[in-house]
């Protein structure tokens, strides 16, 4: 290839790649621009800079539009949901991968079958299941409708198929010898799991954790159904969608853009810090 032709190819490549880069970054940059404009400026020219930078939009979004509250709720639910998913998912996967007992195949198959299940098939009955668990004695008030507890349990249950599927395969690849040596030394099954096998499975566990965190953070449908009426319990996705759709003409547009910005910034930071992990976690998920 001649030098001139190589340069032309490189130039064309950059033109194509730059086109998509702009398509991705410009909408996001525009959101941040709008988030420091006044109401009048937002409805004026789309691309003109603001006369003064209005950070009060951000303050209003955080407090009056409750974005701070929604974000805290999301963090709590996703943290508990993922922790529970990983604990119970790893326990089930470990037993299914390394112990033979009657029915183990069927249990594994039932978990894996969940991968093919669209959430819309179960949405209606799920609502009533959660509503009914709310009437249980003692635990009811913590796991019924409009409770984070109930949503967390549902998140765990719906994250189990992928987690069990992936980790069963992973535990299956770990060598026998270390665990056997520990058993000879008199370690219990539980101890072997928590102190030997789980640490050995770390790479797999990390990937699946990333996958679950992003998946649960992304969730909109389940909170919409299971946290229907109590605004104080709403998650970030619900809250922002609500500010955007139902508020109509009374909407505080400055605050809406600030709220969007607030939800985007943590993801920029997380993505910058953990991009390798995130890529591995999500690409692992592509082959479910």
């Amino acid at each position: 290839m001649s030098a001139a032709r190589a340069r032309l190819t490189a130039l064309l490549s950059h033109a194509v790649l730059l086109w998509w880069t702009l398509l991705v970054t410009v909408p996001i940059a525009w959101t941040f621009l709008a988030s420091v404009k006044s109401e009048r400026e937002i409805f004026g020219d789309a691309w003109s800079p603001p006369a003064t930078i209005r950070l009060d939009n951000w303050a209003r979004a955080w407090q009056q539009a409750h974005v701070g509250r929604y974000m805290l709720n999301s963090v709590v639910v996703v943290a508990c949901g993922t922790a529970g998913t990983m604990l119970f998912g790893a326990m089930a996967a470990y037993v299914l991968a390394r112990y033979r007992f009657r029915g183990s195949r069927i249990v594994h198959a039932l978990f894996v079958a969940g991968l093919a299940l669209p959430v819309y098939l179960v949405l209606t009955p799920l609502f009533f299941v959660v509503r009914n668990t709310g009437a249980l004695p003692l635990v009811g008030p913590f796991i019924g409708l409009n409770t984070h507890g109930g949503l967390i349990l549902v998140y765990i249950a719906f994250s189990l198929p992928f987690t069990v599927f992936f980790l069963t395969a992973f535990f299956g690849t770990l060598p026998e010898t270390v665990a056997e040596a520990a058993f000879v030394d008199g370690a219990s099954h539980t101890r072997v799991f928590f102190q030997i096998m789980l640490p050995m499975a770390r790479p797999g566990v990390v990937s699946v954790t990333v996958f679950n965190v992003l998946g649960q953070w992304n969730q909109y449908q389940l909170p919409l159904v299971l946290l229907p009426s109590d605004r104080d319990s709403w998650l970030l996705t619900q809250g922002i969608a609500d500010i955007s759709t139902t508020a109509g003409y009374d909407a505080d547009w400055g605050a809406l853009f600030a709220a969007l910005g607030m939800a985007i910034i943590p993801m920029i930071v997380v993505h910058a810090l953990l991009q390798g992990q995130i890529r591995r976690g999500l690409t692992a998920g592509a082959f479910k």
Partner: protein
């Protein structure tokens, strides 16, 4: 020892199996039963109506349109996303003739990859809210600002029945492409170098090398992506519900099956009817996945 073992197995499975049974398996079984009833209200007694709900679905214009929109997305989202992603992955990773070892074929490949991937980590709802603003029909929308400044009429894709679904399609592709760029780049890098070198000696390069060597070797990855994107296209909800006017409008022009399930169950309290829709959605999803996997298998045998 044996009793310890049994107790350990039961102890470890107790919680996950219980949660899964209560929240996934039992609602799944219930859905199949409720779909055969006319259950309407929280306190009403459901009556068994057999396949009536399904018969009604066949004459329900809104649901049929929703299913049609899903099928259109199913036909277009996977090829557009995969096509763009393959192009970008090829430009970023090169074809083996160029320096494939470092960051990539073009300068700044790492930067491009990070930017392209970013929409993937944003919640779908945020993307929907974002584009609802970008596509605002007046000159304050991001798209219309420059258009009107250049003297064009402002466009409002979300306000027009003919254009709104294309906006949904665009947003779905916009968010998905980066993920597949990363996936395909990884697959290209894992192809043994010798294959490229051998082909290069035979005189293949550039686009030809990509079409003849790289693409066939990426087939499994592309097919996995196709299934994944297709299932996602059948399951679309948040983009339609949050971005479009009237939650699936204007005039039902963007509604999808998932939105109709939600609307019928939780706005109209037609629980039996909504479950029947869920069953149809489930059947389509499973049918699609099985179909693609079947075709794949046959082709693979012919290939070898």
């Amino acid at each position: 020892m044996n009793q310890h073992r049994r107790r350990f197995v039961a102890g470890f499975l107790a919680v996950p199996v219980t949660l899964y049974t209560v929240y996934v398996l039992s609602p799944c079984a219930q859905a199949l039963v409720i779909a055969l009833t006319d259950w309407r209200g929280v306190n009403a007694v459901p009556r068994f109506v057999g396949a009536d709900n399904f018969r009604r679905l066949l004459g329900d214009e809104v649901f049929l349109r929703a299913a049609g929109h899903n099928l259109l997305l199913l036909a277009l989202v996977p090829p557009l996303t995969i096509g763009l992603a393959l192009l970008f992955a090829w430009l970023l990773t090169g074809d083996g003739a160029a320096g494939r070892t470092g960051g990539g074929a073009v300068r700044g490949a790492g930067f491009y990859r990070v930017v392209f991937f970013f929409p993937q980590v944003l919640a779908v709802v945020l993307v929907a809210v974002l584009f609802r603003q970008i596509l605002r029909p007046d000159r304050s929308g991001m798209l219309n600002g420059p258009l009107t400044a250049l003297g064009f009429e402002p466009v409002g894709p979300l306000a027009e029945t003919r254009l709104a679904l294309w906006a949904v399609l665009f947003v779905l592709v916009w968010q998905a492409v980066g993920f597949y760029v990363v996936l395909f780049s990884a697959a290209i890098v894992s192809i043994p170098r010798e294959l490229f070198e051998a082909a290069a000696i035979d005189g293949a390069r550039g686009g030809r090398l990509f079409l003849r060597i790289t693409l066939p070797l990426l087939r499994d990855t592309v097919q996995a992506g196709w299934v994944y994107l297709g299932v996602a296209a059948l399951d679309v909800f948040a983009v339609v519900w949050v971005m479009t006017a009237e939650q699936g409008g204007p005039d039902h022009s963007t509604t999808v099956m998932a939105a109709e399930v939600y609307r019928n169950a939780f706005h109209y309290s037609r629980f039996g009817y909504a479950c029947a829709m869920g069953v149809v959605l489930f059947a389509l999803t499973t049918g699609f996945a099985v179909l693609v996997l079947r075709l794949t298998r046959r082709e693979r045998i012919e290939f070898r």
